[in-house]
Amino acid sequence: MSENNTIVIADDEAHILRVLELKLSSAGFTCVKAGNGLQAWDQIVRTRPALVISDYQMPEMTGLELAEKMYQENELRGTPIILLTARGFSLTPDDLAQTNIQYRVSKPFSPRELLALVQEILMGAVK
């Protein structure tokens, strides 16, 4: 695992944040929570996480806007992002072109599978 094991998790649903934090923490990750897009941005800038897990539909700033904002910053452009979206929600390749969104996970999701995905991304990053 990379030395940086901080993950910013952003969702306006407190229950989802709690589940994610619990699951990821139990696997050794340090979680930083954010309840909306702006909070997430502040936390990302402050903590420089290894990965960002963000809901798409959030107040203040959507997950896609957050990803685009990160992509515009050289130091954050390479940070992988997992976007949580509603099932059936469609994003075009153009939507994703100016982001580093590597995976999209549909809600309702399995915390177990999400953890596996996080480990795969971060292990892959080490390699």
């Binding site: 649903e13 229950h15 107040p59 099932r87 809600k107 177990r112």
Partner: protein
């Protein structure tokens, strides 16, 4: 047998000469004694006299017959009819009358044929005229904009909608080239192309004056290959598209609101099943979250169904005499655990006074529940939510208020929060809200109970919702308003 006047005169002169010769022979018979017998001169005289008389008679009869024929032909001419020529004594003109009648019969047949053809043509013209009027009436009454162009690209017909859409008047623009009337270059190009390329109607979408049209250009061919006209129909689909978009948005909203609590329920159950929660206390906490999210799902579905029933005029409203204090206490009890979860103090000050009201129990409870659960959701842990109620001095009206110390509502958003699925910049309607709660509150208070809602709030400094209601609402008027709204929808 018809003789000319010259022949008659010649014959008369001839008979006269014979008569004169006979008279001369008789007068000189005795002296000349030419050897011819007296009887010869007498016969000659008789022949001359008879011939002359006969000739005169023939001439008279012929003139009479011809005059009869002339009068009859003049009569035919006057009444513009063709009949047969009838003469009393035909023998001098028998052949002529027969030939003339044959000719007249032929003319009459031709005239009859022409008359029939003319009637048929008139009928065809009438039918064509009626069809033209029918077509014009159909085009005029069409709810689509319709333009007809001839094979030379000149305007033939356009209805009122087309004239308004492209800004021209048909009487001024008829027979003018279409490119002088329609300035839209893409439409012009499509019309040009359709003239020489397409044999079948071509359909495409077109944005014009902030509206969306489905345009169909159809070539009209006559006698297989000859292009006669082009019709262009512009069907306005803006509303259909908007409705489809609204429907799509609604389904997306509903799906989001259903999926959000479901996501929590599923994730928490998975953690419990995987044994990630080690302590009994933690597991109990998780069960409570699952219960609370299931309640949220239930509340969303209930709100959605009730809103739909109210909007469709199918809501069965049952007004009953209620004790407001009891109703508010029961509602508060239902959300107490939510407040406790967030360490929010839920104050209920509505117990001070007994207030008897008339209202629909289930709907009123849902209104109070929605306001209380909203207040708890948008209040930070450690905050306060206060439920209060009171009655006017004349005891004709009462009020219910729900006040919180939460995130508040910006002034420009206070009306919008009652819209279905409205998402404010501060996140009200997210963060556990159903997106329908306040919409239902407004419908139930204003339409079902004839009351009003007052919102006092400042962004970041809490909110207060005050419901003003009549103790005995006018039940029938509120129902009829709902039904009218349902019809309007």
């Amino acid at each position: 047998m018809i003789l000319t006047n010259k022949t008659h005169i010649t014959l008369l002169v001839l008979y006269g000469m014979i008569g004169f010769l006979a008279i001369w022979g008789l007068a000189s018979h005795s002296e000349v004694a030419s050897g011819l017998p007296l009887a010869f001169w007498m016969v000659l005289g008789t022949v001359g006299a008879a011939g002359a008389m006969l000739e005169i008679l023939l001439h008279i009869r012929t003139r009479e017959a011809l005059n009869q024929m002339k009068k009859q032909i003049q009569k035919m001419s006057e009444i513009a009819e063709v009949g047969l020529v009838m003469v009393e004594e035909q023998w001098p003109v028998e052949g002529l009358a027969g030939m003339l009648n044959e000719y007249l019969t032929l003319i009459r047949k031709k005239m009859n044929d022409l008359s029939r053809e003319r009637k048929e043509l008139n009928l065809l013209v009438q039918v064509a005229d009626a069809e033209k009027h029918n077509t014009e009436a159909i085009v005029a009454s069409s709810s689509d904009a319709v333009i007809v162009i001839d094979a030379f690209g000149e305007l033939t017909l356009a209805n009122r909608l087309a004239q308004e859409l492209f800004g021209f008047k048909l009487p001024d623009s008829k027979n003018r080239p279409i490119e002088q009337i329609i300035s839209e270059s893409r439409l012009q190009a499509m019309l040009d192309t359709a003239q020489w390329k397409y044999r079948e109607p071509v359909t495409f979408e077109y944005e014009l004056k902030a509206r969306t049209y489905v345009v169909t250009i159809s070539p009209v061919y006559i006698q297989s290959d000859e292009l006669w006209a082009l019709t262009m129909i512009l069907h306005d689909v803006t509303q259909e598209r908007q409705l489809a978009q609204l429907k799509n948005d609604f389904v997306n909203h509903v799906s989001h609101e259903l999926r959000t609590p479901l996501s929590s329920i599923k994730a928490y159950i998975e953690l419990l099943v995987d044994g990630d929660i080690k302590t009994a206390e933690g597991r109990t906490d998780f069960y409570k979250i699952i219960q609370s999210e299931a309640d949220r799902l239930d509340r969303f579905i209930e709100n959605m169904l009730n809103l739909n029933r109210i909007e469709s005029g199918l809501m069965s409203v049952e007004f009953a005499k209620l004790n407001l204090k009891d109703e508010l206490r029961q509602a508060a009890a239902l959300v107490e655990y939510l407040a406790r979860e967030k360490s929010i103090i839920l104050e209920n000050n509505s117990f001070a006074e007994e207030i008897s009201i008339h209202a629909d129990r289930d709907l009123l409870r849902q209104v109070v529940l929605n306001l209380l659960s909203n207040a708890i959701k948008y209040t930070n842990p450690g905050g306060k939510v206060r439920l209060d109620a009171g009655v006017s001095e004349d005891r004709e009206s009462y009020w219910i208020s729900v006040e919180d110390t939460g995130i508040g509502i910006a002034a420009d958003e206070r009306d919008k929060i009652f819209e279905k699925f409205y998402r404010s910049s501060g996140g009200r309607s997210l963060s556990g809200g159903t997106g329908l709660g306040l919409a239902l509150v407004k419908k139930v208070v204003e339409q079902i109970h004839g009351g009003t809602i007052e919102v006092q709030s400042d962004s970041g400094r809490g909110s207060k919702f005050i419901l003003h209601l009549l103790v005995k609402p006018a039940e029938s008027s509120s129902r009829s308003e709902i039904e009218q709204e349902a019809i309007a929808l």
